[in-house]
């Protein structure tokens, strides 16, 4: 028997969050004129004590805050597992420790940045904050990091005979120290002035970068607060562009669905002229239905797709398509019931997520 995965709680911090409010109504749009989109939110003390916060890096603050507030949203006290995905982990602390090591020629190093540098720091700190001894896993797999954690949530529900309240999230922070390296690697666009809302118009290499934390509470039991159901997800490490559509059809077929059953697609276009071709087949094949994208508003990061998922989940619940996120002009003809997300980064770590209205 196939067990369901209901999404019963959400919290999301992104460059679209304001200084005071993590949540936003998709109508008010934050705009940026540089390719680095940071989270401006400052309201962590609503949930985190100042003494604890002093030692927390931005990833840890964003992660602990959204984990705690997703649990509140789901009205769940104790998670049965804590699953995190992060592409870069606690990059800032890791960079600082490395730079000190190099500058001080391996002498007189303080351990404080090292101990916060492991990729499971957010998972561990969420456990400490919640005093949770539950199963605690962290995945780091490029742009499939969050999806790997989400896959573990699904595997847990499918393989374990117990009730689950799974806290699953994606977290990545911008490290000031290595922005230069990302520019050098042409991950960041080189245009000196750049409007994020026109991201797809530049036709140049690279994208704009972002950061954020997005947590979900997932259970096999539907609740009064259920936003949507996670039907299934699929990962492929490497693909040619012409394989994207056949793989999409095969994934839908595994779930006894056809292309015509999908009401909305959410795509991970990031404006990188070398790689947005991966999204073309789906833009073409799904041209009769509404299409949505989001990286122009929150920037690229290895866990940006977790923002995409909360966007899809909120659209399913509200049945409202926010204007600034639309990739085409097709209006929904009926209730949006099934949403398909597809993402990849530089031709690697492709993911598909299938969500359903509850």
């Amino acid at each position: 028997m196939i067990k369901a995965c209901y999404i019963n709680g959400i919290s999301s911090l992104s460059p679209q969050s304001t200084v005071e409010e993590e949540n936003f109504d998709f109508q008010q749009i934050q705009t940026f004129e540089k390719p680095v989109l940071q989270v401006a939110f400052k309201g962590y003390k609503k949930l985190i004590k100042p003494a604890a916060m002093r030692r927390m890096s931005k990833s840890v603050k964003m992660g602990v805050f959204t984990a705690a507030s997703a649990l509140i949203d789901a009205n769940v006290k104790e998670p049965t597992s804590i699953l995190t995905g992060t592409g870069m982990g606690c990059k800032q602390d890791s960079d600082i420790f490395l730079e000190n090591l190099l500058l001080q020629h391996e002498e007189l190093l303080s351990p404080s940045k090292f101990v916060q540098s492991t990729h499971n720091t957010v998972g561990g700190q969420v456990a400490l904050y919640l005093k949770s001894k539950a199963y605690n896993f962290t995945y780091v797999q490029g742009s499939a990091s969050f999806e790997s954690a989400l896959l573990d949530a699904q595997l847990s529900i499918l393989t374990e005979e117990k009730k689950h309240q799974i806290l699953v999230g994606g977290i990545d922070e911008i490290s000031e120290n290595t922005i230069g390296l990302l520019q050098l690697d042409q991950q960041i666009k080189s245009e000196t002035s750049l409007e994020n809302l026109k991201l797809l118009d530049y036709k140049s290499k690279g994208s704009i970068i972002g950061e954020g934390a997005h947590f979900f509470v997932i259970s096999e039991e539907k609740s009064q607060n259920s936003y949507a159901q996670l039907i299934d997800l699929h990962l492929e490490n490497s693909l040619a562009t012409e394989e994207v559509f056949p793989k999409t059809k095969a994934f839908l077929a595994e779930n006894k669905l056809a292309i015509a059953d999908i009401d909305l697609v959410i795509l991970g276009n990031n404006g990188d002229v070398d790689f947005d071709a991966y999204f073309q087949p789906l833009q073409q094949e799904f041209k009769e239905i509404p299409q949505v994208y989001y990286k122009h508003l929150v920037g690229e990061s290895y866990t940006a797709s977790a923002f995409g998922m909360q966007l899809g989940v909120k659209i399913l619940k509200s049945q409202h398509l926010p204007e600034a996120y639309r990739l085409n002009t097709v209006q929904p003809q009926k209730t949006i019931k099934k949403v398909l997300l597809y993402n990849q980064f530089r031709g690697k770590n492709h993911s598909w997520i299938l969500l359903e209205h509850v």
Binding site: K91, K133, V140, A144, S238, N349
Partner: protein, 395 residues
Amino acid sequence: MIQRIAITGMGIVSAIGNNVQENLLALAQQKSGIGQLELLDTIHQNFPCGEIKLTNTHLVDALKVKQDEAFTRAALLGVKAAEEALQQAQISSTNKIAFVNGTSVGGMDYTEKLYQDFSKNPHTTKYIEAQHPGFTSDTIAHHLAITGLVTTVSTACSSGANALITGAKLLKAGKAETVLAGGTDCLSKFTLNGFHSLKILSEKLCQPFDEHRSGLNLGEGAAYLVLETEKKAKAQNKTILGYLDGYGNANDAFHQTASSATGEGSFLAMQAALNSAKINAEEVSYTNAHGTATENNDLSEGIAIQRIFEENLPKISSTKAFTGHTLAAAGAIEAVFSLLAIQEQKIWPNLNFKAQMPELNFSPETEIVPKKIEKVLSNSFGFGGNCSSLLFSAV
């Protein structure tokens, strides 16, 4: 019907050998691989390490790696161990297998070498992406022609054990038919200095569970297991090396790097592993402990072991004094050692042990002990309070 998870292949490279046979020989001869650093460029030459004496250049040639690709040392070690495991499991076509890797710092060796020079040497920019551990897994997958499900667990020193847990879950859920799972980590200045800054490296050969233990020795290595459902392995007439019958993970939720005095996380992980294998503690013949030889770990783990087994303590040893602490690879390397214990029906010794810890009522085995071994419990713990335990069974 939930399937039993069969192990049909294993591969390893560590300071005590470049393949399973060499590792087995060193274990049987009680020969440690820990000694003076020769390859890692660091000022801290006073700390003995379990270094693999194969240069990257040698590995690139031996593994026939394409020169234009960005192979980190962890990827090179990973490919070496993975190829051995796949060969033993007779996997000729890799396009349908899933790969679950465990690594902590991934490509940190290249990052620390090139960090200040990326802008000066354009041919090095291909290593910029190596800053994230997934890159190392991608490179291994690409070399092995694995294109489907590839993921990486990074829970510090329990990563390798946790990768095996994820692999088992993928099979049980029917999300994969064959899984290559394990871990890889190389020595780096980053980790050596990190552990040094925490003052938990020993200048002597490490002495797990000894009253006078003075810290850990770092190591490097990689190990992978091929996991398949018992049904599939039998249908294909494959030799089954053992079963991964149980696993557990729990969080100590005590401190970012230190373990609690009661070993609560380790206790819960071992308990969960026994429960998921549906066995009682007294059925365990041997426990391959995490046993890093730090003051804190061995006390916390020792107490947790006493709490789990009470009057029925199994034979216990840590093999860290053979290989050093290989971080994300440790859980996978020790999974191989656990399977070798089952294969040889021998307990591997806990080298360098002299005096029992006054806080504990047991001493680890110091000699090779021939014994009927049916069930082995293998522990791996990491920063972030991460505690894992795996239960392997004989065929």
